[in-house]
Amino acid sequence: MSAAAPTAMQQGLQSCEACGLLSRPAAGEQEGHCPRCDARLHFRKPASVQRACAYLVAAAVCFIPANALPVLTSRTAAGAESHTILEGVVLLWSPTGWPLALIVLIASVMVPVAKIAALAFLLMTVQQGSIRNNEQRVRLYRAVELVGRWSMVDVFVTTYTAVLIQLQPLMSFEAGPGLVFFAAVVVLTMLAAESFDPRLIWDAKESSHG
């Protein structure tokens, strides 16, 4: 079925990622410029898998200190107390506060883990030249793109809590080093998703047929 569905690349055509125009590079050339918007054109994003892998490994490494180091320190007359993200979730968990705890848990722990796992899965299957579940895999990629930015929630929660609770010497909150690593995880996974070229999912199918 897919043999009858040619791609632009098979026809030697490049579609512009910026403006969508379809154009043909000069004979023998792999790269060119879009005649309409002047963007650099490639058949596929250059070094897509390598770049996405690099961002993803960096994100996975940052994820460890992001969860091990405190994101918030509270100082009261009784002394200072530091909380990591997970400890913050436990603190929020109460008979009335559990929906908040759930939002933070999903946005800051489950979403980043799921994103890293999903992108790793996509990169692996693309490298292996998998031809199975292409529709599901491209849907997974679109979900990762859509959901990624919502992990920033915890950065904003921590920031605006710390800004407001400055009631020295009664009680004050301070942001902690975990926040830097956590923000890095969010940015790096977003960059990894952007570097990945979903068209690679479909290329394997075609080459295995012809």
């Binding site: 791609t7 969508g20 920031t159």
Partner: protein, 224 residues
Amino acid sequence: MHNRPVSDPALTACPHCDLLQRLPQIEPEESVRCPRCNAELWRRHRDWYPRTLALAIATAILYVVANATPMLGLSVVGREVVTTVFGGAEYLWNNGWESVGALVLFTVVVAPGLQIGFVLAILFGARGDHAPRWVGTLLRCYRMICTWSMIEVMILGVLVALIKIAELATVIPGLALFVLGALIFLIAAMQALLDPRELWRKVEWADADSRQALAGHRAEGSTP
């Protein structure tokens, strides 16, 4: 070196699976999806230009109000603390977390501001049948900036913080909080209405010769 455009302007490739296909002519309020991967290729809206313009002007006004008025305050034992949207970034920057401060500033102040400004400039540049080259440049930047404009994420974060703080002190929601609540819906509507395909059709080509050649080719093709 510029590529040569294909002679059939309806021919297009899906950005998510590269499937080559011919875009059908659709009516307003209709959309086209890729038959293989189901990505939305084009959606048309009735009167998209005046509606997008109205939304862009409204979001610009709300954006100014949201950044100029206090967002959230708290009062406890006679003391009051008030913060604006910008106050979050300022706090992080002044307390040794410059990198996160810059990220917060970019995602909640700079990126949304640029996003709204770009739409206004693009619509102004494309008010006639032909748009100058810089409209194309802004369209490219606009697409990149959208992912990093995170007002709606910030609102969720602020609401969680607000409920958390409410256990410790009296929370005073500021004008900006309500304005931001309206702003996220208007920005989403503006983003959905803007039709990049229509806009690109108006933009002047980087390689003017190939467009003329293309127009000539099309004229020949259409005469029987």
